[in-house]
């Protein structure tokens, strides 16, 4: 493959830089909408802080609810960064180039909120610093805190590394940006000029990070799984929890990735860079992960259901036929089986719309699944629940809880949007380099010979 003509490079850069700081009417609407939800959530949180966790529906039996379910969800989603920038890197998938920054942004945002959820769930958040002053490293909570912090910092570094050359491009190209911004660009570009030494160091740093981030990512979610697997409760007391969470997480992360690139492709007019090939490949990946997760579910629920041990019976009956049966079978059938069938049909997999629909189902299933792992399980302890006050034997989240939950999800999306207001969605230099080495086909972007037309709308 010949080196790309400088003109083409320039136009790619111009096009991809055009999203930075640009106002889109629809996006503004979304930002305002999400910000409003966040304000609502903040008010709800203040109420919760003042009145105590009594404003939630959590009680002594169901002592963890939506917040912890959402913690597991966010930690799970954060694995997508490691999947794209580490696993796909090792497997040599070239089509990952346009996806790297999106994946890292999702990771960064979700791990941030993953760190935030436990604080929402704490009875005495003002004593958070006790974790440092009185921390016991035997406690899985401390492992979780350290792992989340480590993964967050690792993700910041990994988000930043491929940004260095792009920052240099922004420094050089966006000469009409306000001086303060240009100062930031200049700082973040780290004097990048693309010489051999710099390229060597960057490659080295990225190689190291892609290896290091993988065990960190896996440990983050395994430890989250251990929060429940290290207890003696029926249903939780199982060794499958670690892998179960990790693969459920990869699946949910993949689904949310598809949804976000679908939105970005449309909203930021990135059709030439995020093509049906990406959706089809990610759809394939999602299918593989969903099949595997289905298999893990069969182990998690099928094995105890065959034995029907006394302690597990109550929970299993509740999930299969009882109060939570609707949710459970939704996650199993609509959240796993149907998406697998949909994604296994080639025609559907090549249609962005269908892939997005399948991802939506998977994501919804994954969210509900997190809840089903946490709360119904707590309502089936060893010693039968008796003489409980009304409201203690059932968990129906309150408005405050829903608001805070919704605003966490809104904040998660908002943070991603914010990151793409500051930085280009697609790693320009890597895409260019990838195309130079492997061609458009491999990277999955459209033929660059059409670029004249592209320039038309990008200017």
């Amino acid at each position: 493959m010949d080196k790309l003509h400088q003109e083409i490079k320039n136009s790619i850069q111009r096009e991809l830089l055009s999203t930075v700081g640009r106002r889109y009417r629809r996006e503004t609407f979304w930002v305002l909408f999400l910000a409003m939800i966040c304000v609502g959530g903040t008010i709800a949180w203040i109420i919760q802080l003042r009145k105590g966790l009594g404003v939630t529906a959590m009680r002594d039996y169901a002592s963890w609810g939506l917040y912890i379910s959402l913690l597991f969800f966010f930690v799970g989603v954060s694995l997508i960064g490691a999947l794209v920038s580490s696993v796909l890197r090792f497997s040599g998938a070239k089509w990952r180039y346009p996806l790297i920054r999106i994946a890292e942004a999702v990771t960064l945002s979700s791990i941030f909120f993953a760190g935030f959820m436990p604080v929402l769930d704490m009875g005495r958040p003002e004593r958070l610093y006790f974790l440092i002053t009185h921390g016991r490293i035997q406690s899985p909570i401390l492992w979780d805190v350290v792992a989340i912090a480590t993964y967050f910092i690792g993700s910041v570094i990994y988000f930043y590394l491929p940004l260095i050359p792009d920052m240099a491009i922004m420094r050089d190209k966006l000469t009409d940006a306000p001086p303060r911004r240009r100062k930031i660009f200049r700082f973040l570009a780290m004097g990048w000029e693309g010489n051999h030494r710099q390229k060597y160091f960057l490659k080295k740093a990225m190689n190291i990070m892609s290896v290091v981030i993988l065990p960190v990512a896996v440990s983050v979610h395994t430890i989250s799984a251990w929060l429940i697997a290290l207890t003696l409760r029926p249903g939780w007391n199982t060794s499958i929890m670690g892998p179960y969470f990790v693969f459920g997480a990869l699946m949910a992360g993949c689904a949310i990735m598809i949804l976000i690139i679908a939105k970005l492709r449309h909203g930021y007019r990135l059709e030439h860079y995020l093509t049906p090939k990406h959706f089809s490949n990610l759809g394939m990946l999602l299918m593989a992960l969903t099949v595997f997760y289905l298999y893990l579910n069969l182990n998690k629920y099928g094995v105890p259901a065959f034995k029907m041990a006394k302690d597990e019976r109550g929970l299993l009956n509740d999930l299969f036929f009882g109060h939570n049966a609707l949710l459970f079978w939704f996650t199993m059938i609509a959240g796993l089986v149907i998406p697998v069938i949909m994604l296994s049909i080639k025609k559907l997999r090549q249609s962005i719309r269908w892939v997005v629909f399948a991802s939506l189902l998977v994501l919804l299933g994954a969210l509900i699944n997190r809840y089903l792992i946490v709360t119904p399980n707590m309502l089936h302890p060893f010693i039968p629940i008796q003489h409980a006050q009304p409201g203690f034997t059932i968990y129906n989240p309150t408005v405050i809880e829903w608001t805070i939950t919704a605003s966490s999800l809104a904040g998660f999306v908002l943070l991603i949007i914010l990151l793409f207001k500051l930085f280009p969605v697609i790693t320009m230099w890597e895409v260019i380099e990838g195309v130079e080495k492997n061609g458009e086909e491999q990277v999955g972007i459209e033929d660059l010979s059409n670029l004249q037309i592209i320039q038309g709308h990008a200017s």
Partner: protein
Amino acid sequence: MACGNNCTCNQDNPGNKDNSRRDFLIKGLMGGIGAAFLSGCSSNDKSKPVSNEKVNVLTHDGKLVAVDKSQVANFKPHISEEDVRTGIPGKKFVMVIDLAKCDGCGKCTKACNKMHYLPSNKKWIDVVEMQDSPEVAPYYFPKPCFHCDNPPCTKVCPVDATFKREDGIVAIDNERCIGCRFCMAACPYSVRLFNWTEPVKPNIEETTPAPERVIQSKKGCVEKCDFCPHMAREGKLPACVTHCPMNAIWFGDANEDAVTCYDGTTTKLSQLLEDGAAYRFMEDLGTEPRVYYLPPVNRTYNAKEIKIKNAE
């Protein structure tokens, strides 16, 4: 020098619950023995009515002095933060619950709630109706905290707010608890309670460090049965034991190999466990509870009347 050695003080009515002699000496030793202390109690509290009840007290130089009881009673030894974390020296508390005797009257719960100023909806000791299978007879199952020797709850606490003491008690420090509720998730016996809202409690100032306070309720913190260490320090039994009219609950010190029940009967722990074929609840979990149960054989009440109402 230990108190029993050449101290031969005695007191009137050395009955089962009156243990002030020994108690006084322990306190005396803790609070800094000797003349300073004695002069303290004789010069202060002149306003107190004199009870004419003399107690013999050992001074630091080994002399016996008789002082009025009223001057001793109010002496509270200073209990330090370290004391409440290591526990009462030399003790290893243990409870035995005789399921054959428990008729489910719930007086233990009431007494406990009264002692710890708990509202009726909180139960540190809960009497659960149990029936292992439909054909077997049901029985009442008083469930305090088991104060496990391998406690799943202290394992998971991130800030050392709940901890295992050397005297066997699993205590909670509500000046430390961050309210993560991991201990509640970890406890297989659903013993722990959380203060979801500001608890209703009297305005009583307690100078003791948090783990040994009578009132443990604190908003956003966890609480549970604490084996009444504040009573044990005074040589008294926990509230549930002293209010169980069926003598179903025994409490004592495993190091002394003795347990005592409501009517003051004190018996050899090892003998009781052996004769009663005692067991621990869900031994297979490996939590090593410090609460033993005597099986519900030859019940003294009509078991058929127990109605099991498990929440679904």
